[in-house]
């Protein structure tokens, strides 16, 4: 009898052992090993690591001009992803929140870019932005705006915004799906009650729809922040951080320092700056997910 009780106590941990092992060894441990590495000057290859204390972080925050540019870019990008794809997703969800074949087809269209590999998305848009034959400039020329037809990704003033437009194309579908699910969970009686009370469309949106979507807002906005701060694939595939270093973001700058410039200790420090930003900003999301 005692034996069964005792072995039963171990059972939960037995079930969790494989997940705990893989997660600890291949995610948690490397994460803290990166923190350790960030206090060293190291080329990433040789056995020689020189302890430099906080020098890599001091370099990041005070000396490295590109790091400053990349930080600003990453935050502008994150702010953009908070506002633009999220609100477009909400508008689409409001417009498509009804039955019928047409809205199913339209939902499919708006969501479909989200399933593509971002490298492919980057190459498609790189071709669309082509200065001479790309469809963007062809359209501009055909409507008499030929003066605006420039090399969107090679121009210092437009490369960043052009890359973000591509991001928007690929990331509207996700908030749209979440908002659709949120809208469907709002009790229809509230709308009926609002109508009986004489509320117009705007009033019932403000007083019924928006409060009903509070939960969804937290999730959509948290995920926008998390995805925004992690941005890498699109910038790498479309501009490679250029022209010059105009479109460097923290994700790409970490990659360049850690794996291209043999400046691995510094790369680890940049990685930890990214991780710290995300972990702090994701707290509300994680709290909400862990509550029942």
């Amino acid at each position: 009898m005692r034996k069964t009780v005792k072995s039963a106590r171990h059972i939960p941990y037995l079930f969790m052992a494989p997940a705990l092992a893989i997660y600890s060894v291949f995610l948690v441990y490397p994460m803290f090993d990166s923190l350790y590495l960030s206090f060293f000057e190291w080329d990433g290859l040789s056995a020689k690591k020189t302890f430099v204390g906080l020098n890599n972080y001091i370099e990041f925050f005070f000396d490295d001009q590109t790091a400053r540019k990349a930080t600003i870019n990453t935050f502008v990008w994150t702010l953009g992803s908070l506002v633009i794809p999220s609100s477009l997703g909400l508008i689409l969800a409001l417009a498509l929140n009804r039955g019928g074949k047409v809205s199913v087809v339209l939902r499919t269209i708006f969501y479909s870019p989200a399933v593509l590999p971002l490298v492919g998305v980057g190459l498609i848009w790189g071709w669309m932005y082509n200065p001479n034959f790309g469809v963007i400039n062809v359209i501009l020329k055909s409507v008499g705006l030929g003066d605006l037809a420039i090399g969107w990704l090679s121009n210092f003033n437009t490369a960043f915004a052009a890359t973000f437009v591509t991001y928007t194309w690929a990331h509207v579908g996700f908030p749209m799906i979440l908002y659709l699910a949120g809208l469907q969970s709002i009790n229809q009686d509230y709308y009926d009650a609002a109508r009986v009370d004489g509320a117009n469309a705007w009033q019932s949106f403000r007083n019924v729809t928006m409060p009903g979507l509070t939960e969804t807002h937290v999730i959509v906005l948290s995920l926008a922040v998390i995805h925004g701060l992690k941005v890498f694939d699109l910038v790498y595939a479309m501009t490679y951080g250029g022209p010059g270093r105009e479109t460097q973001v923290l994700g790409t700058w970490m990659y360049f320092q850690g794996f291209q410039y043999y400046h691995a200790g510094y790369g680890a420090a940049i990685a930890w700056v990214i991780a710290a930003f995300i972990l702090v900003l994701a707290i509300p999301y994680i709290r909400r997910m862990s509550s029942n």
């Binding site: 059972i11 939960p12 941990y13 079930f15 997940a19 893989i22 997660y23 291949f26 995610l27 490397p30 994460m31 990166s34 498509l96 047409v102 499919t108 269209i109 708006f110 479909s112 870019p113 399933v115 593509l116 590999p117 971002l118 490298v119 492919g120 190459l123 498609i124 071709w127 082509n130 469809v135 194309w169 996700f174 799906i177 979440l178 699910a181 949120g182 969804t216 999730i219 998390i226 701060l229 890498f232 694939d233 790498y236 994700g251 990659y255 794996f259 691995a264 990685a271 990214i274 991780a275 995300i278 972990l279 994701a282 999301y285 994680i286 909400r288 997910m289 862990s290 509550s291 029942n292």
Partner: protein, 282 residues
């Protein structure tokens, strides 16, 4: 009279919204049209007539040429191999962990759950440098197999979150009845929990296959050899070699995105279930 007028205005409003949506959806389809109209014509035709014209001859052979010239069979093989090995194994490991988290009370339950959840916010970048060294020590340097353990680790937080939520919905009475009949916890997991969770497992299977197919940064750093490239890496290398031959390049893009588009269109229902289950309800 006035209600009729209002109804008509309402109808017009709805039609306007619909027309706006259709117009907007055409803008959203433009990049897909660009791929198709570039990939399926000859280069001369493209430069002479531009992207927006009916191709003189539909050149399906661009696709077969890109497939061969670009070494896509290798990349497809690697990506499919990863999906076949990583996805079932990862979901099994996640399901095993989610079962006690959902259905047993034990010390550290909620702490362990939060420990896994924090992984949702860990960027891949922060693990990359140590992972390179670890894979070298394991003799997996540059191999496609090096991606399997970290992919599983990074997939666990979302999968555990979704499966724990789903397992919680399974009535405890069923489990109690099985326990009284003498079933072991593992039997309950295998014979009750898994079969009753097929919708959630299917959704996760599809979502995870997709993110495995699309993942780029980890593959870029951990698989250097050409023979180990996954589809996104191969596509980027293909672009590097043919960056001015846009018809061929777009044929390569078409090859890389068609599988995911087809899977998405046919299995859309599961996508929506998985996405909303993961993000909205824990």
């Amino acid at each position: 009279m006035s209600t009729r007028l209002r109804k008509r205005q309402l109808l017009n409003g709805k039609t306007l919204i619909l027309l706006g949506l259709i117009g907007f959806s055409l803008v959203w389809l433009l990049p897909f049209a660009t791929v198709a109209l570039t990939a399926l014509r000859s280069e001369g035709d493209m430069y002479a007539n531009g992207v927006f014209s009916i191709p003189k001859v539909i050149r399906w052979d661009n696709l077969t040429k890109a497939w061969g010239v670009g070494d896509f069979p290798t990349y497809f093989k690697n990506s499919l191999l990863l999906i076949l090995l990583k996805v079932p194994l990862g979901i099994l490991v996640a399901a095993l962990a989610a079962y006690p988290l959902a259905k047993m009370s034990f010390r550290g339950n909620s702490a362990l759950f939060i420990f896994f959840l924090v992984g949702l916010a860990v960027p891949i970048q922060v693990t990359l440098l140590p992972l390179v060294g670890m894979m070298r020590d394991l003799g997996l340097s540059g191999s496609v197999y090096a991606l399997i353990p970290p992919y599983i680790a990074f997939g666990l937080p979302l999968q555990i979150l979704v499966l724990r939520g789903f397992f919680k919905l399974i009535p405890g009475e069923i489990l109690e009845a099985a326990r009284i009949d003498g079933a072991s916890e593992f039997t309950i997991f295998r014979r009750i929990m898994l079969p009753l969770s097929v919708p959630a497992l299917a959704a996760l299977f599809i979502l995870d296959s997709l993110s495995t197919w699309n993942e780029f940064l980890m593959a870029l750093v951990l698989t250097s050899a050409k023979a180990a490239r996954t589809v996104p890496l191969g596509l980027l290398a293909f672009q590097g070699e043919h960056n001015t031959q846009y018809t061929l390049l777009m044929a390569g893009v078409a090859i890389s995105i068609l599988p995911v588009l087809i899977i998405f269109v046919f299995l859309q229902r599961y996508f929506v279930t998985g996405l909303t289950a993961g993000a909205v309800k824990g």
